[in-house]
C-alpha cells in the first residue's frame, strides 16, 4: 500500500461527497459574503435580511447534523432534539439579556461570555448525559425512546412557559442589544454571525465525519444494525450510545446559541414537539446516515417553508405532511439515496 493510498484512505476528504460538500459550503459562504459586500444598488446585492435568513438556515443545518449523527449512525430517533437546541438558545439568550438587566439575580453570572459559552455546551450536554444515562442503561430503545424524548421536550416546554422560571415565560427572551460589545443590529454583525454559523457547520460536519469514520463510528453503526450482537462481542453499548448522544446534544446546543442572536428571540415554542419532529423530516428528506443529506434536507425544507408560508400559508402544512409520507414511503434513503441510486444506474448502463 503506497503512502498516497494510505493517506487517501485515512483522510477525511477521500469520499467524494465529503469534499464536494465542503467545497460547496465554503464557496457558498464566500459568495454570500461577496454578494453582500456589493454596492446596494447592484443587481446582485444581497441585503442584510437575506444574509440573516441564510444564517438561520445554517443553524438549522447544524441541528440537522446533530440529529443525523444519532439517528443515521446510531439508530436512535430523538423526537426531542429541539430541547437541546432551545437550551443552547436560552443560554445565549440569558447572556444577551444579562448584558442589560438580568431577569433574576443568579443570571448576572451569565453576563460573562466564557460562562455563557460554557453553558451553551454544558446545559444540553448535562441534560443529555442524565437522560441518556437513564434511558440507555435500562435499554429503552426504538419507539419507546422516541416517545420519552418527545415527552421530555413537551415537559420542558410547559416548564419554560412558567413565569416562575425567570426565563421570560411564554414571551421568552428577546430585545437583545449587543454581543461581545458590538451592536446586534448592525450589518457587520449580521455577516459575522453568518460566517460564524457557516464555520460552525463546516467544523461540525468534519467533526461528525471524523467520528463516524473512527472506531467509535464503526461500533455505532454496528449497534444500529445489531445491538445485541455488539453487546455480546463485549462492547459497552450504553457507553457508546451515551457518548455520541451527548456529543449530538452539544452540537444542537451550539446551533441554538447561534440561532438566537440572528433571530432575536428564543421562546418556549422552540421546545414544541412539532419543531423537533420537523427536524427529523429534514434529515429524512436529505437522507439518513450521510451527513451531507441532513445539510441538504434542512436547507431545502426550510427554503420551501420560507417561500410557501409567504405565498400560500395554508399549503405549507399540507406540503410538510405530504413530505413525511412521501419520503418515508418512496424515498427511504432520502434525496442522497436517490442520487446514489441514479449514479449506480448510470455506471451500470455506461
Amino acid at each position: 500500500m503506497s503512502l498516497a493510498t494510505m493517506f487517501k484512505r485515512n483522510s477525511l476528504l477521500d469520499e467524494r461527497s465529503t469534499w464536494i460538500t465542503s467545497v460547496v459550503l465554503i464557496v457558498g459562504m464566500l459568495a454570500v459574503v461577496v454578494l453582500h459586500a456589493l454596492p446596494t444598488d447592484h443587481a446582485w446585492h444581497l441585503n442584510g435580511s437575506v444574509v440573516s435568513l441564510l444564517g438561520k438556515y445554517l443553524t438549522y443545518m447544524l441541528l440537522a447534523l446533530a440529529v443525523d449523527l444519532i439517528w443515521g449512525y446510531l439508530g436512535i430517533l430523538s423526537l426531542g432534539h429541539g430541547a437541546f437546541f432551545a437550551l443552547g438558545g436560552y443560554a445565549m439568550g440569558l447572556y444577551l439579556t444579562a448584558q442589560q438587566a438580568p431577569l433574576a439575580p443568579w443570571q448576572a453570572v451569565m453576563a460573562h461570555f466564557p460562562v455563557a459559552a460554557l453553558a451553551v455546551i454544558l446545559a444540553p450536554g448535562l441534560l443529555a448525559l442524565v437522560f441518556g444515562w437513564l434511558a440507555f442503561r435500562s435499554r429503552v430503545t426504538g419507539v419507546y425512546f422516541s416517545i420519552i424524548t418527545q415527552a421530555l421536550t413537551f415537559a420542558l416546554m410547559l416548564a419554560f412557559n412558567r413565569n416562575e422560571m425567570a426565563m421570560g415565560g411564554s414571551t421568552g427572551l428577546t430585545r437583545f442589544d449587543e454581543l461581545l460589545g458590538f451592536a446586534l443590529a448592525g450589518e457587520g454583525m449580521t455577516v459575522a454571525l453568518f460566517v460564524a454559523s457557516g464555520v460552525a457547520v463546516l467544523l461540525a460536519f468534519w467533526g461528525c465525519k471524523a467520528v463516524t469514520r473512527s472506531r467509535l463510528g464503526r461500533v455505532c453503526m454496528a449497534t444500529r444494525d445489531a445491538e445485541a450482537r455488539v453487546r455480546f462481542i463485549g462492547y459497552r453499548v450504553e457507553h457508546v450510545k451515551l457518548a455520541v448522544f451527548v456529543l449530538s446534544a452539544m452540537i444542537a446546543g451550539v446551533a441554538g446559541a447561534l440561532y438566537v442572536p440572528q433571530v432575536g428571540i428564543i421562546n418556549p415554542s422552540t421546545f414544541a414537539p412539532l419543531f423537533s419532529i420537523e427536524v427529523v423530516v429534514w434529515v429524512a428528506l436529505g437522507g439518513r446516515a450521510t451527513l451531507y443529506g441532513a445539510l441538504l434536507g434542512a436547507l431545502v425544507v426550510n427554503y420551501l417553508k420560507t417561500v410557501l408560508t409567504g405565498v400560500m400559508p395554508d399549503a405549507w402544512l399540507f406540503l410538510l405532511g405530504g413530505l413525511f409520507v412521501v419520503v418515508t414511503m418512496f424515498l427511504p434513503q432520502g434525496v442522497a439515496g436517490l442520487m446514489a441510486h441514479l449514479r449506480r444506474r448510470r455506471e451500470v448502463t455506461a
Binding site: 395554508d314 410538510l320 414511503m329
Partner: protein, 551 residues
C-alpha cells in the same frame, strides 16, 4: 304566593272595593296553600286599606330602628301584600308619594320615568320619577333583617322547593325577634329536608347564644355559614368556645374527606379522558405495534363529527350527541382504515418510519380541518342532562358532563374488553399479535385483521372525540394536546394490555389532581411527565408487562 300571582290576578278581581273582604288568619303552611287558592277565587285574605296604610306609614321614618320595628310589624301582620312589600323595600322600590299619602311600588327603576303601582291595591298608577316618589332607604342591618323576614315568610307559602330555599337562607339569619316564628314554623313543617335546614338555623342561633346542647345538632354540618360562625365562636372567649372548637374540628375533618372525594372525582374524570384518548392507541400500538401519530387527529375527527351533527340538528343537542356516538366512531374508523390501507400496511415492521408517516398524516388532517372548517375553535353545546352539577352536599358536587365522560369511558372500556375477549375478531387479533405466521397458517387473514384492528382503534379515538367535545372546545389543535399524554399512558400501562391502560390513565389523572393544589397545574403536569419518564427507565415494560416471548 309570589308577587306575580298578585299582579296577574288582581286587576280584574280587585277593581271593586276590598273593604268588605274581612280578616283571615293563615300562618300555617296548609292555610298558605288555601291563600294561594284564594287568590284565584275572588275571596281574599286581606286587611283594611286603613290598616295597610298604617303599616306602611310606620316605615316612613328616618330612624332605622323604627323602620326595623315597622318591618317586623308588617311581617307579623295579616296583610296579604306583606311579602311583596318587604321584597320591594329590600330592593329599594317601595316609596311614598312626595306630595301626598299614597304608597307606591316601583316596578322598573331602570329609566328616568318609572312605571309605578299602588302599594296597597297593586293597581297601575302611571309613572313616577325621582322627583315625585321618595323610595324608603335601608341600611345593612335592615337588609339582613329583611332577608330573614322574607325567608321566614316564604316558609309559610309556596311549594317544598321554595320553602327549602327559604329555610336555607335562614341559616345564620335567625335573631331574637324571629326565633319564635322559626320555631313555630319548624313545628308545622312536614318535609324532612326543610326541617333539617330549620333545625340547623335554630341550633346555630342557640349556639351563638351560648347553648352547648345545640352544638350536637350542628355536628357534621357542612354549611359554610355554620362553619364560619363556629370558627368565630371557637376563636372567641365564650364559655362554649372549647366545645364549639371540637364540633368545628369534626366538621373540618368531614369536609376534608369530602374534598378528598372531590379531588378523586376530578382525578378520575381527568383520567377517564386520558383513558379514552389512549385506549384506541393501546389497540393500534399495543396490539398491532403500529405507532399512529395521527391518533390525536382521529380524536379531533370524532369531535368535529359531533359538531357537524349538531349543526344539522339545531336545537336538539341531546339527540345530536347520541347520534354522534355511532357517527364519530364510523367517521374516525373510516379515516383509520383509509390510513391503514394507503400508508401503514406498506411500512410494516418499520416502526420509526410508520411514526414519521403518520405524523405527516396528522399534519395534513389538521390543516384539512383548518381549511375546510376554520382555524377557530368551535363550541359544542351540551344537552340539558349533561349540564350543571349533581350537588350531593355542601362540600361535594359532581359536574354532570365530567361524570358522563367517566361513565362513557367505563362503558367503552368494558365493550372493548368484551370484544377482545369474547368475539371472533378479538380472538383473531390476539392470535395475530401472538404469532402472526402461525395465525396465518391456521387460516386467519392477517391483513384483514390488521385493517379491522386499526379501524377499531381509530373508531375508539372517534368516540373519545365525541366525549371530549362535551368538556372542551373543538379545534384543529385538539388532537395534538392529547397525543403525548396518550402515548405515555399506553407505555406506562404496559404495551398490549387494556387493563394497564385503564389503570395507568386513571392513576395519572388522580396523581395530577392531587399534586395540583400544591404546585399548580403546569408544574403538576411537568412532574407527572418526568415521573413517567423515570418510571419507564426503571420498568421499560410498563406497569403490566405482557407475559411470554412476545414481550
Amino acid at each position: 304566593m309570589t308577587p306575580t300571582h298578585a299582579t296577574n290576578v288582581r286587576p280584574e278581581g280587585m277593581t271593586g272595593p276590598q273593604a268588605g273582604l274581612g280578616f283571615r288568619h293563615c300562618l300555617t303552611v296548609v292555610a298558605a296553600l288555601l291563600v294561594w287558592l284564594a287568590i284565584v277565587s275572588p275571596v281574599q285574605a286581606e286587611v283594611t286599606p286603613q290598616r295597610a296604610q298604617a303599616l306602611l306609614q310606620a316605615l316612613d321614618t328616618d330612624d332605622f330602628d323604627a323602620k326595623a320595628e315597622a318591618a317586623q310589624a308588617i311581617a307579623a301582620s295579616d296583610a296579604a301584600q306583606k311579602t311583596r312589600w318587604l321584597e320591594a323595600l329590600l330592593d329599594g322600590r317601595l316609596g311614598r308619594e312626595r306630595r301626598g299619602e299614597r304608597f307606591y311600588i316601583i316596578t322598573d327603576d331602570s329609566g328616568r320615568e318609572w312605571p309605578i303601582i299602588d302599594a296597597i291595591t297593586f293597581e297601575e298608577a302611571g309613572t313616577g320619577s325621582r322627583r315625585s316618589v321618595d323610595a324608603f332607604r335601608i341600611n345593612n342591618a335592615l337588609r339582613t333583617q329583611l332577608q330573614g323576614l322574607i325567608a321566614s315568610l316564604s316558609l309559610d307559602e309556596g311549594d317544598e322547593a321554595t320553602r327549602l330555599e327559604a329555610a336555607k337562607r335562614l341559616i345564620g339569619e335567625v335573631d331574637a325577634q324571629s326565633v319564635d316564628t322559626v320555631a313555630a314554623q319548624l313545628d308545622d313543617e312536614e318535609s324532612p329536608a326543610v326541617r333539617a335546614e330549620l333545625e340547623t338555623a335554630l341550633a346555630l342561633y342557640r349556639v351563638e347564644q351560648g347553648d352547648a346542647a345545640a352544638l350536637e345538632t350542628l355536628r357534621g354540618n357542612l354549611d359554610t355559614r355554620v362553619r364560619n360562625s363556629l370558627a368565630t365562636i371557637a376563636a372567641g372567649d365564650a364559655p362554649i368556645a372549647a366545645e364549639a372548637g371540637e364540633t368545628l374540628a369534626g366538621i373540618e375533618s368531614k369536609r376534608a374527606w369530602y374534598e378528598r372525594g372531590q379531588t378523586l372525582f376530578f382525578g378520575l374524570s381527568a383520567g377517564s379522558v386520558l383513558v379514552l384518548a389512549a385506549i384506541g392507541l393501546a389497540i393500534t400500538f399495543g396490539v398491532m405495534g403500529v405507532i399512529n401519530m395521527a391518533h390525536g387527529e382521529l380524536i379531533m375527527m370524532g369531535a368535529y363529527t359531533t359538531w357537524m351533527i349538531q349543526q344539522l340538528l339545531p336545537g336538539q343537542p341531546g339527540l345530536a350527541l347520541l347520534l354522534a356516538i355511532p357517527g364519530g366512531f364510523l367517521v374516525a374508523a373510516a379515516f383509520g382504515i383509509l390510513i391503514e390501507r394507503s400508508v401503514i400496511r406498506f411500512l410494516k415492521g418499520r416502526p420509526l418510519e410508520t411514526l414519521l408517516a403518520t405524523f405527516g398524516i396528522s399534519l395534513i388532517l389538521q390543516q384539512l380541518v383548518r381549511t375546510v372548517f376554520s382555524p377557530l375553535n368551535r363550541r359544542v353545546a351540551s344537552p340539558d342532562w349533561l349540564q350543571g352539577a349533581w350537588q350531593i352536599n355542601e362540600a361535594l358536587s359532581l359536574t354532570l358532563n365530567r361524570l358522563g365522560v367517566l361513565l362513557f369511558c367505563l362503558v367503552v372500556f368494558a365493550a372493548l374488553w368484551a370484544l377482545m375477549r369474547y368475539t371472533r375478531l378479538g380472538l383473531e387479533v390476539r392470535a395475530v399479535t401472538q404469532n402472526r405466521a402461525m395465525a396465518r397458517s391456521m387460516g386467519v387473514r392477517a391483513a384483514r385483521v390488521d385493517m379491522l384492528t386499526f379501524g377499531l382503534g381509530a373508531g375508539v379515538a372517534g368516540l373519545a372525540g365525541v366525549a371530549l367535545s362535551q368538556i372542551t372546545n373543538v379545534g384543529p389543535n385538539l388532537g395534538q394536546s392529547y397525543i403525548v399524554d396518550s402515548f405515555l399512558v399506553v407505555v406506562f400501562g404496559g404495551v398490549g394490555n387494556l387493563w394497564g391502560t385503564l389503570v395507568a390513565g386513571m392513576s395519572l389523572g388522580v396523581i395530577n389532581q392531587v399534586l395540583q393544589p400544591w404546585v399548580g397545574a403546569v408544574l403538576a403536569k411537568v412532574i407527572v411527565l418526568i415521573g413517567v419518564i423515570l418510571f419507564i427507565q426503571k420498568r421499560p415494560q410498563g406497569l403490566f408487562a405482557p407475559k411470554g416471548r412476545t414481550s
